[in-house]
């Protein structure tokens, strides 16, 4: 859109080789789109001096103009994407124009949000990642751009996903690996990548089982090595609960896993029933008959 006031109108011819697309065909002829951080030139007609103002929320500048001379914009003049108003004020007229500065297409930075940082193994779609892509001037690259996501673990298959950004954003979901360990979660667009570490820890114990043997006047209770359903040793310190019931009495002991097993000594009551559990996982039950 262009508004003219005054009688001495400035007529600007446009150099086609320098102008990708024009917002208008006469007057203050800015390109419709200017790529952020690019140099461009606008030829001007007329004579005398004028002042050019370019204003948008993200950038503003003012420049003295010699009419009849080309307006030269260097690469550093306009590098913030947005919609701009240009105003050319001379003694006899004011002209306005609108144009857009669009982001550069080459990613220079990406914001990578990955969650969670720690989760159990073998969880379907348990890991999510989202990225926002930015050009060298911190403009959000809204043009659809491919992004690859890769989750690798030291002892497992690498998962790969690809996505295309929509308005600068892309996301994905990944399964946690079946083996515990630190996973590298990488998002990449062009030559830019960001890495997050995802700690994959064992899941709940699978097949919790204990045995009992008499040691003096006590019972020594010890679990088999605790593993999750994928064979990963459960974390040291996982609490295992032993419960002994006899003639209306009951004793409960919480024991942390140490070197893959939980072990405790309890009084050896004849006829006692002893159970074991950890979290929501129940183990076997033993009835002690004084063997």
């Amino acid at each position: 859109m262009m508004i003219r006031t005054g009688t001495a109108l400035l007529a600007f011819a446009v150099s086609a080789c320098l102008m990708p697309a024009l917002g208008q065909t006469s007057g203050l002829a800015f390109p419709k789109n200017v790529t952020a951080g690019s140099a461009f030139t606008i030829p001007t007609n007329g004579a005398g001096r004028a002042t050019l103002y370019v204003a948008g929320p993200s950038e503003v500048f003012k420049r003295d103009v010699q009419l009849g001379q080309p307006l030269v914009f260097s690469a550093s003049d306009l590098d913030h994407a947005g919609h701009y108003l240009a105003v050319l004020v001379s003694d006899s007229s004011t002209e306005t124009s609108e144009f857009d500065v669009v982001p550069a297409s080459q990613p220079a930075d990406l914001t990578f949000l990955a969650r969670p940082s720690r989760l159990p193994v073998d969880l379907q779609n348990g890991i999510t990642g989202a990225v926002y892509l930015f050009d060298p001037f911190q403009n959000l690259i809204v043009k659809p751009t491919p992004v690859s996501f890769e989750l690798s673990v030291p002892s497992g298959a690498t998962q790969t996903r690809t996505a295309t950004t929509n308005e600068g954003a892309a996301w994905t979901e990944m399964n946690s690996a079946t083996k515990e360990g630190s996973g590298k979660f990488v998002a990449q667009a062009g030559n830019i990548s960001a890495t997050r570490i995802i700690q994959q820890v064992p899941g709940d114990p699978c097949g919790l089982k204990m045995t009992a043997r008499k040691v003096g006047d006590k019972l020594d209770l010890v679990t088999d090595p605790l593993r999750d359903c994928n064979g990963n040793a459960v974390s040291e310190g996982t609490i295992v609960t032993f419960t002994e019931s006899w003639n209306g009495g009951e004793t409960t002991v919480d024991v942390p896993v140490k070197h893959d097993v939980a072990e405790v000594q309890v009084p050896a009551y004849n006829g006692a029933r002893i159970s074991v559990a950890t979290g929501v996982v129940m183990g076997n039950e033993i009835r002690w008959e004084g063997q």
Binding site: M1, I3, K32, N33, Y53, A55, G56, P57, S58, E59, V60, F61, K62, H80, A81, G82, H83, L85, V87, V89, T94, T96, E98, D100, V102, P103, L113, A114, R115, N125, T128, G129, A130, Y132, F134, Q138, N139, L140, V142, N166, E167, G168, A169, W171, E173
Partner: protein, 163 residues
């Protein structure tokens, strides 16, 4: 996820709505696995509209301090730089928004960002001291990324797209 949300005016106060011009919210069409609760949607749009008011006032009065309530990060830095430059040049700009047409398009899976697009019609007036240099009716499509803070959503990216 597509929710059959009718076009509605959110619970935006009458004062706010009047200052912002008309506000239309399109049905949310989300990409991503995380559902967006109505309360979250309402809060984000309310905070986004208030951020626009903050921006308009800050650019008109050349007061970067007015930005902090609605903006963080890149948006805050860019608009602060603009205001500093306006002050140096003796300029200020008035953005009188006539209408917003907003659509939320992305709620990131971990819940740490909301993205929306907004077709805005506004008048931009550029002034040198108090002399009006130009007034231009504008139409632009903005994309915004909001992130949660302790008490509100703040705008981290606000950028007009080419149409």
């Amino acid at each position: 996820m597509i929710r059959p949300l009718p076009i509605f005016l959110l619970a935006v106060s009458a004062t706010l709505a009047a200052a912002q011009g008309s506000v239309k919210v399109e049905p949310t069409t989300l990409q991503g696995p995380r559902p967006l609760a109505r309360q979250t949607e309402t809060s984000a749009i309310r905070d986004y509209l208030e951020a626009w008011q903050n921006l308009s006032a800050a650019l008109d009065q050349n007061r970067p301090d007015l930005l902090s309530e609605g903006f963080v990060g890149t948006a805050m830095e860019k608009f602060t730089a603009t205001i500093d430059e306006q002050s140096k040049l003796g300029l200020h700009a008035r953005y009188q928004v006539r209408s917003h047409d907003i659509k939320i398009i992305f709620y990131s899976p971990e819940g740490l960002s909301i993205q929306l697009v907004d077709n805005i019609e506004y008048d931009e007036q550029l002034l040198n001291q108090e002399k009006v240099l130009a007034t231009q009716p504008m139409h632009a499509r903005y994309v915004a990324v909001l992130t949660p803070t302790e008490v509100r959503w703040k705008v981290r990216v606000l950028q007009a797209e080419s149409q």
